[in-house]
Symmetry: C2
Subunit: 261 residues, 2 copies
């Protein structure tokens, strides 16, 4: 909820800049240009749709504040949440086409959104190669995150699945400097967690309580804490390389990320 106090110098930048800066060294000129893209803003309340399944959309979106989700409901009435968007994440970054959405995207919390015209994205790719590299890395990481979800859904039992999700979100929040060393604000309901993890609400609840009793998490009141991070990482096969990349505040610049497609 609250913007944490920044002890260092770059407190003023948007989450998106913080995220890009964690992978790519940006000049103040690039930062200014990038912040300038975020003028066209909108505020959303929980459950408001950003993109509706089937509709055409003509801009890319950047989450400035809050959480959002991409989701789908099957004819059997089950909802699958495909991806969680955090501050600094792009929605619909690829812009070379007329697009009609194949899933829904909607706000989970209060969300501040910036709509970015396709032409301005192209502009980045033409004139700001470093920024462009940052966007590319963003896309690669997005792919990797979904891949990990696949592994969770297909090959990890309930408790591991849930804890893996928790650690992933914590790492992503760390990257944008909105998490502490061992905890962060966590706005999801158990029902939403269930729909991300492909589990029923009841079983999700029981699994979470088991994790609590094991001492792996402290969870409640919109806050999530890991009393023993190493144990948690170990328990759910959380990829240490991801963790490493995500945690480093200033990694080797412009030479990172992991392969995709």
């Amino acid at each position: 909820m609250e913007m944490r106090m920044m002890t260092e110098g770059e407190a003023m930048h948007s989450a998106a800049v913080r995220r890009l800066s964690s992978t790519v060294l940006l000049t103040t000129e690039e930062i200014e240009f990038f912040e300038g893209l975020q003028n066209n803003r909108a505020q959303l309340k929980p459950d408001e749709k950003i993109i509706a399944d089937g509709e055409e959309f003509t801009a890319s979106f950047l989450i400035r504040k809050g959480w959002a989700m991409r989701w789908h409901v099957t004819p059997l009435g089950r909802r699958q949440i495909i991806k969680i968007y955090l501050p600094g994440d792009f929605i619909g970054l690829h812009v070379n086409f007329r697009r009609s959405a194949v899933h829904n995207v909607s706000a989970l919390t209060n969300v501040e959104l910036a709509a970015i015209e396709p032409t301005r994205i192209l502009d980045i790719y033409r004139n700001y190669p470093i920024l462009a590299a940052g966007l590319d890395w963003s896309a690669v990481r997005s792919f990797n995150i979904i891949s990990e979800h696949n592994i969770s859904l297909g090959a990890r039992p309930a408790r591991q699945r849930i804890l893996h999700l928790f650690l992933e979100l914590w790492c992503r929040m760390l990257l944008i400097e909105e998490a502490d060393d061992d905890s962060f604000d966590f706005p999801l309901t158990q029902s939403q967690i269930a729909d991300i993890c492909g589990l029923s609400l009841v079983h999700t609840n029981k699994s979470i309580q088991h994790l609590r009793r094991s001492g792996l998490i402290v969870f409640g009141k919109g806050r999530l804490q890991f009393p023993d991070i190493d144990a948690a990482v170990e328990f759910c096969d959380f990829d240490a390389r991801f963790l490493g990349e995500f945690r480093t505040k200033r990694p080797p610049h412009a030479v990172l990320a992991s392969g995709t497609d």
Copy 2:
């Protein structure tokens, strides 16, 4: 296995060109340039690795013939196959970074591979905007395919999951003109199908037999057929829009695809 006889004029092009051509209208000059990229070739046998988890890799790859897979094994010993690569698919398209792989990629069948230098990909983006758009669309589609897998793994029961996979692969083979109206060569074993769908081998087998008895598939001897495609699509909630896009041999050019991140 066999290259199907081409009745039309463009039989000579590689699968990759056929795939790009299905979304984007290419000039003969663009096609020639693109085919020229595929000089550096390698032949692989089943189970040979293309990319090994943890190792750095310095080129992108293009599958020219055969099937490959991206996979991961959990500490509990379960293998999850994250993605199937078909002829014309890129592996590791994003090239702006030094990359160490986070998953394994290996051949499922005999594979003919082209290694493409990062600089040549950049070349495409700089000098061949239409080709670049095709690659972008490729990446978007790749994301969408994995998203559908997520939905399957999280929200669809075994039979639907398996049939959905079958239809997806059939559509992708159609797109590169390696499938018939209602059937195609299908080299996966049931054990591999199980690892894609996050199911046990035994249960996969029983589900497949159920699908057979329902008359939704004819499956055996490396070949898969759909006696009643509409029924199959209906049964497993296969997205008709995807199907539409995939099936169209010549869709509205340069204005297609669906949003992502």
